[in-house]
Amino acid sequence: MKQEHGGNGTRKYGMVIDLDLCTGCGSCMVACMAENNVPFREDETDKLKSITWMRVYKLTNGKPYPETDICYLPRPCQHCEGSHGHSPCVSVCPATATDYDSQTGIVSQIYTRCFGCRYCMAACPYHARYFNWYDPIWPEGMEKYLNPNVSPRMRGVVEKCSFCFHRYQAAKDKAYLDGQKEIEEDAYQTACTQACPAGAITFGDLDNPDHAVHKLKKQPGAFRLLERLGTNTKVYYVSSREWVRRAGDNYLKTEGPKKVV
């Protein structure tokens, strides 16, 4: 079953986000919310509780006016591979509610298994996981827009970015029905990638030389967040500005930012 599509069947989906192109407009955040039935409340200003699978951070270079500079950094779940799938969250989950899928490289989250211990949240170095402190409530009539491909979550469970796994499933089904062995690059794209008006996000199989991300991740200026933790993430960032690359990890003043590859 594991190798139903021939070859070795494994893919390693990941993203390359060009921070020089990202304008911080927030389309990716909203596209994600709309696609994945992310709940909302009247007050969303407590950002520790505000569920945003995709969150755009604002970084500054810390220099005084007028040398100040700002960079926006979109942060989905980084889908850490660690070494052999030992991502920080997967290692600590006592309920096997989150798992590393070696077929796709996607870190899953199974809501019905999760009992809300939140170990994974403590383990995640990227704050990519969110706990449902409240029941999701949609104002009367608004539940009409809910996407049936993603189940709404209930109070007491943790949720996070799934790389729009339901889109992968749909693409896989379609490929199977069409008799194709491979899922085409554009057949499976995440909602944020599709929405980004600047084209800053590229998504695909990092190991597949035909996919754009394969080449993009190796370009100069590419880096990953907290590279030295060994989380081995699948979200690459690109920036031409050194201070931005430095902001990707906690470096000593004398150190240069670590290069990918």
Binding site: A31, G141, P148, A191, A198
Partner: protein, 745 residues
């Protein structure tokens, strides 16, 4: 039976042992675990057949194509339409949130008549027939008493068939008071009229420019057609084009630009003239264009025999880098370098219209920037700016006016301007309150929210209090609708057929067709149908001007043969339209580009913003892509993306430079009262290095009092703190800010 200690204990132990051996505890534990795993109130969305319907988004004047994903009858997601000429598949946060507006709790579900005090939000539901006949009756009384000119209409959009139909209604009825929500397009239009001799909205061929000099335009903050601008920015990065952003605050645009030059707010025109000075002095300008196709560059003698200084002399005499440096706060050497870089470019392009361009702005500034473009020949050419050819987009048959209409329509309008000067909306409140001219007896507001969006909210409300009859045609219970006497709810853009012409700033004539993607959710009507019904109810010549059965029939007629393409493709591009070349482009009396038009003098005219020296700071409002600040208020998704350094609980943060904060003894998060000559508000301060010392900033889009709990009573409405400042020539609002002070709260 006597219960002693021994028997009590043995009974207790017996009961405990018995219960433990029975299935009861296991059953209870099981039930409890099942109960805690049940969430019957968490909805399970229904599955069904998926389909996609293409349409166009009209939530802003950007005009992006959208593709709505539907499952059976309901919409689950709005995405960008691939292949649409404007947005090419991209979409913004507001466009993505459209379904929250469609299904949201702020929709008005049925026509309403006010029963409480104004703004008290107490209503009775009435039928459409009742609503229409009641309004028609009122209008009839006014008309027969010779007061047809004392009604007015404010439309949210400047173009489009619904807006034109609204104007037509007022014309047939006999009122010269058609207004629209103004923007920087109005100012540009005037600049074109005076300098190019051609009227038209501006088209900016930004994709083909290689040095973009933006005088405060929020190119990536929602200026023009936002998604198009994001795409253009990506194209600039790949083509190594240079973007130079000039503004006092490090906006997203400034942060993404290649260079951010901080400038004293309101002095942009001086810099444009300073750059022109260097271009002329160092002979860096496009000599061929200036010599052969322009007029007024050299000094000349007017028809009255007076000597008038030309552009060259004016600029050389008054705007040397040193003088400009004193005004703008920018180094003289930086000005010279800027000018050289601009001149060296193959396709340099300068543009203005601050932020999203929702304030029309100073005409002198628009002219100074336009003159700068002319100096380098970037008018009417690839990579330049030009008035969009005014093709006949809609073809209307003439209104046959009866005697009442003919008299009414020829009156001066409410603000004392010639009939149907649609841009003076900002002057309406003052005109009403001053009591000069005639009183306004009824106001119709179509898809617009002046009580929130207009500067100086309090005065606007005072003025509205003097209008005896206020009708709002809106889809949402916004501030103005809540203040109205009768509310006529519209279909929202996803429920109606409508044309969306000319995305702001787009250099090609494009019309898109918005289609009814969904059946109406509530007892609402298409605003066009409402107007037709109202006209028919009025009878006589008014009804005769509206011979259509419904809006769709009207749209088909005025669109003519374009309608077929619109129905099939969803958009229509005028493929014949070409930018007229320099020989044919200018329709001024001399047939050339006019540097020194008679109507307005080129020069730096500081906008006289309000406030005296007791207000030591400058407050500037700004716009962002994460907040909708116009007629449409933020849907919940968008508010969720707003940073906690802008809004925390219900408090707005006022952006302030740490130095300014220090001198005012303020630290991060302190509660303050911000005060201007127009009003005051309570908020908190957020220290940010990316803002000029002495300047404080507030975003537009917060501080709503109407709508729902997801946006109401959150933060400060910047408009309540700012007054409109009339441009001396155009009369349009040119206020880029106001003087303010902060005190600890």
């Amino acid at each position: 039976m006597k219960i002693d200690r021994r028997s009590f204990l043995s009974l207790g132990i017996g009961v405990a042992a018995g219960t433990a051996l029975s299935p009861l505890p296991w059953k209870l534990t099981d039930d409890l675990s099942i109960w805690t795993q049940n969430w019957p109130w968490t909805p399970v969305p229904e599955i069904g057949e998926t389909s996609h319907v293409n349409s166009v988004c009209t939530l802003c004047p950007g005009g992006c194509g959208i593709s709505v994903r539907k499952i059976e009858g309901r919409g689950v997601k709005i995405e960008g339409m691939t292949g649409h000429p404007v947005n090419q598949g991209g979409i913004c946060a507001l466009g993505l949130s459209g379904l929250q507006l469609l299904y949201g709790p702020t929709r008005i579900k049925t026509p309403l008549r006010r029963i409480g005090k104004r703004g008290e939000d107490r209503w009775e539901k009435i039928s459409w027939e009742q609503a229409i006949s009641e309004i028609a009756e009122k209008l009839d009384v006014l008309r027969t008493s010779g007061n047809s000119h004392t009604i007015a209409g404010i439309a949210g959009s400047r173009q489009g068939t619904v807006s034109q139909l609204f104007k037509r209604f007022l014309t047939a009825y006999g009122s010269p008071n058609f207004f629209h929500t103004p923007s920087c397009v109005d100012t540009y239009q005037l600049a074109f009229q005076y300098m190019n001799g051609v009227s038209g909205a501006p088209g900016f061929d930004l994709e083909n420019a290689d040095v973009i000099l933006s005088f405060g335009s929020g190119l990536l903050d929602g200026w023009g057609s936002p998604v198009r601008m994001f795409k253009a920015n990506t194209a600039w990065r790949k083509a190594n084009a240079h973007v130079i952003q000039i503004e006092p605050r490090l906006s997203r645009t400034a942060a993404k630009a290649d260079r951010w030059i901080a400038i004293n707010p309101g002095t942009e025109a001086a810099l444009a003239l300073g750059v022109s000075h260097v271009l002329i002095k160092e002979l860096l300008f496009d000599k061929e264009f200036v010599d052969s196709h322009t007029d007024g560059f050299e000094s000349f003698v007017t028809s009255k025999g007076e000597m008038k200084k030309g552009f060259r002399q004016t600029v050389l005499e008054n705007y040397s880098p040193e003088t400009v440096a004193r005004i703008t706060g920018i180094d003289p050497s930086a000005i010279i370098l800027l000018a050289r870089e601009f001149a060296k470019a193959k396709a340099p392009l300068a543009l203005c219209g601050k932020g999203q361009g929702i304030i029309p702005g100073s005409l002198a500034e628009a002219m100074a920037v336009h003159a700068l473009n002319a100096l380098v020949g970037s008018v009417n050419r690839k990579g330049g700016v030009f008035p969009m050819p005014e093709t006949e987009i809609q073809v209307w048959h003439e209104v046959a006016m009866d005697s009442v209409a003919a008299v009414g329509i020829n009156q001066t309008n409410l603000i004392g301007a010639p009939p149907n000067s649609p841009c003076g909306t900002n002057q309406i409140p003052a005109a009403i309150l001053s009591g000069k001219g005639y009183p306004l007896n009824a106001l119709f507001v179509l898809e617009s929210n002046p009580l929130y969006t207009m500067a100086d909210s309090k005065t606007v409300r005072d003025a509205f209090d003097k209008i005896p009859f206020l009708v709002s045609l809106s889809s949402f219970m916004d501030e103005t609708a809540r203040y109205a006497d009768i509310v006529l709810p519209n279909h929202i853009y996803l429920e109606r057929i409508e044309d969306a012409p000319a995305p702001t700033g787009f250099p090609k004539p494009v019309i898109s067709l918005s289609k009814p993607v969904f059946k109406p959710q509530f007892n609402t009507k298409h605003a066009g149908d409402t107007l037709i019904l109202l006209a028919k109810e009025m009878g006589g010549a008014v009804a005769d001007a509206f011979p259509w059965d419904n809006f769709e029939a009207c749209l088909e007629e005025v669109m003519g043969d374009k309608m077929k393409t619109l129905q099939e493709k969803g958009f229509w591009v005028d493929s014949d339209a070409a930018i007229p070349d320099w020989k044919a482009a200018f329709k001024t009396p001399s047939g050339k580009f006019q540097f020194s038009p008679a109507e307005a003098t080129l020069g730096f005219v500081p906008v006289a913003i309000e406030g005296d020296s007791t207000f030591p700071l400058l407050l500037i409002p700004y716009e962002t892509m994460r907040m909708a600040g116009g007629y449409i208020a933020n849907p919940p998704f968008m508010t969720k993306t707003v940073e906690d350094t802008i809004l925390k609980l219900n408090d707005s943060f006022i952006e302030i430079n740490p130095k300014t904060a220090q001198s005012n003894q303020l630290s991060e998060g302190d509660f303050v009262v911000v005060q201007t000559s127009r009003g005051q508000a309570r908020g908190r301060v957020h220290l940010e290095e990316g803002i000029m010392p002495g300047v404080i900033a507030l975003p537009r889009g917060l501080g709503h009092t109407a709508y729902d709990g997801y946006i109401a009573n959150k933060g400060i409405n910047a408009n309540q703190l700012i007054g409109p400042v009339q441009d001396p020539v155009s009369g349009l609002d040119a206020a880029w800010g106001i003087r303010a002070k902060l005190s600890k709260a």
